[in-house]
């Protein structure tokens, strides 16, 4: 399992483990993710949303499409009652991850934690679908 963490909040940390170490997936393959939320003090999570999505990046406006989405609100499935959460989904055949010049397509897992105090905290972990090499400009076409 590949492990990554995000502690951009005040002591808050979301640890994510992908089922593949290199976080590189083939289209139509299974994606399994385990995550743990640590470091929250008095403000307890009231809901957690985990999603698998792709978005565009680059010069154009961002387009975002959610492939998998789940909102967990049962107290028994949330910290501190449950130490971690898991989810799994089958990836679609497209689009593939793409590192273009002015258009990029990125796949990611997002874990968003909503606290009882009203604030929320989001963690994002990029992974690859497919094996498309980055685009390079043809000779003489450098912008």
């Amino acid at each position: 399992m590949s492990q990554a963490g995000d502690n951009a909040g005040k002591g808050l940390r979301v640890l994510v483990q992908f089922c593949r170490a290199d976080r590189r997936y083939e289209p139509l393959s299974a994606l399994r993710v385990r995550y743990a939320i640590e470091g929250f003090a008095d403000d307890h999570p009231r809901a957690v949303e985990h999603s698998v999505l792709w978005y565009t990046e680059g010069k154009g406006e961002e387009d975002l499409v959610v492939h998998f989405f789940e909102r967990v609100t049962e107290r028994s499935a949330l910290p501190p009652a449950a130490a971690s959460g898991t989810f799994a989904t089958l990836l679609p055949p497209s689009p593939l991850s793409y590192e273009g010049v002015i258009v990029k397509v990125r796949w990611c897992v997002r874990v968003r934690v909503f606290f009882t105090g009203g604030r929320d905290f989001v963690s994002e972990y990029v992974f690859d679908v497919g094996r498309i090499p980055p685009a390079r400009l043809p000779r003489g076409d450098d912008p």
Binding site: E57, K59, E62, D63, P92, P93, S94, P95, R110
Partner: protein, 448 residues
């Protein structure tokens, strides 16, 4: 309590801002539209729809006798001397209403107010004193009587159209804002049963079945080829430019003709408007220039001859090889005729209040070149070649603001005419070589 941020900031290529304020502003805008729709709808319903409906459903019939008639002079409010005065024929009728005899003035619907007093008098003369006509009186106010019933469909259409559009647009917007309020970006974007209903004008391009993010290719496989399976549609930016020049020339010269006719009538009437004539000279120059540019473009577009491209299979797959037939019409010497396979990225973004689109070719592969082609009139050049896709290339991609497009591009250089570029878009699906593609090696054939 932390208030949402008003102002956004630039983060890399992306501009961030407050989702909360954006949702609030959008909701407020749609609420104003919805409110305007309710107010307009209420006014039009109470002023037009309800009275007309009551006349047709509630008013009991009676028989009216015309006892007097006259013209009502209607002057616009506040116009002492100027302003158009209209004339409305009116009849004073006597009738029985709920067991009592009534007498009152009424305006026949068919006798609309007119500025032509003679026409109003002629219309008034069609009723004779002592004549009996059918009528319908208001059971709530017996002094109110009408001589005609029916519906004014134009008024109903207007009454329903404007408030209906405001109610639908504003209501959908408010419902969308309420649905989105307080929800995360992912939750809002997650597909739901209401997505299609609340986003009827969403600008996402048509997508291939079972392949999210890949554009549909229905338009590429609906035209059979003469030798190969499909004839590819052409995407010629020059055609749109030509159409634009044509529309400009037509509209500009239509206005010019109107002005010339006006100036000519003035001259015939013995008046000379030098200012108008002075303006006509530059207007005419622009009009003639527009026609010349359009005709030149038309000649260039048609003189070179049509270009057709046929392909053995579609959609394309990475690693596949496809037979391609290029057919070029025209006559005379072509210095060169080149076929290339290109991958282009396209991004649409907002810059201030403008929406801009940037395109960039990020991959180009020469497929075939022909040099010194001599085309005879009435015949077309036909060249066959093979287009091969590398196994690890990006598939065609289409989302609302971003595209990755594949196309086969034909560039020609006729000896007597300017060079031309004709683009034939193709759709590349992800994955391995699909069924139906030839496992042919690279080969080239040409005939004229």
């Amino acid at each position: 309590m932390k208030l949402p941020r008003f102002f956004g900031k630039k983060r890399g290529h992306r501009r961030t801002g407050s989702q909360a304020w954006a949702s609030f502003g959008e909701g407020l805008f749609h609420a104003v539209l919805l409110g305007a729709g309710v107010v307009f709808g209420g006014l039009l319903a109470s002023g037009v729809a309800v009275p007309e409906w009551r006349i047709n459903h509630d008013f009991p019939p009676t028989t009216c006798t015309v006892v007097a008639k006259g013209l009502e002079r209607l002057a616009p409010a506040g116009s002492a001397a100027g302003g158009a005065v209209t004339w409305q024929p009116c009849l004073r009728v006597r009738y029985e209403a709920a067991g009592s005899r009534q007498e009152s003035w009424t305006r026949p619907i068919s006798a609309a107010p007119t500025t032509d007093r003679a026409a109003a008098l002629t219309r008034l003369a069609s009723w004779r004193l002592g004549e009996t006509v059918p009528g319908w009186y208001d059971p709530a106010d017996a002094s109110h009587v009408v001589l005609e019933r029916g519906y004014n469909w134009w008024m109903w259409l207007l009454a329903l159209l404007l408030p209906g559009a405001l109610l639908a647009f504003g209501g959908a917007g408010v419902a969308r804002s309420v649905r989105r309020w307080g929800k995360s970006e992912e939750r809002r974007a997650a597909p739901s049963r209401l997505s299609g209903l609340l986003h009827p004008l969403a600008g996402s391009p048509a997508q291939a079945p079972d392949h999210p993010g890949v554009p549909a290719c229905d338009n590429h496989v609906n035209s059979p080829g003469t030798q190969l399976r499909y004839r590819l549609p052409i995407e010629s930016p020059e055609s749109w430019t030509l159409l634009g020049f044509g529309l400009f020339a037509v509209l500009w010269n239509a206005i010019l003709i109107l002005l010339v006719v006006g100036a000519g009538l003035d001259l015939l009437g013995g008046r000379t408007d030098w200012l108008l004539i002075g303006l006509l000279v530059p207007f005419a120059c622009v009009g003639i220039g527009g026609i010349v540019v359009f005709l030149r473009g038309l000649v260039l577009a048609t003189a070179v001859g049509t270009t057709q491209l046929e392909i053995s299979a579609h959609p394309l797959h990475p690693g596949g090889a496809y037979d391609v037939l290029l057919a070029q019409g025209g006559s005379g010497l072509f210095t060169s005729l080149d076929v290339t396979l290109e991958l282009e990225e396209q991004a649409t973004f907002r810059q201030g209040t403008d929406t801009r689109t940037e395109k960039l070719v990020v991959w180009r592969q020469p497929v075939q070149s022909w040099r010194g082609l001599q085309l005879a009139s009435g015949q077309r050049f036909e060249g066959r070649t093979v287009v091969s896709l590398p196994p690890t290339v990006m598939h065609s991609f289409a989302s609302e603001h971003n595209y990755v497009r594949w196309s086969i591009v034909v560039r020609g250089a006729p000896a007597r005419w300017p060079a031309f570029t004709r683009v034939f878009p193709v759709v590349v699906f992800p994955g391995t070589v699909g069924p139906g593609e030839p496992a042919a090696g690279h080969r080239t054939e040409a005939t004229t």
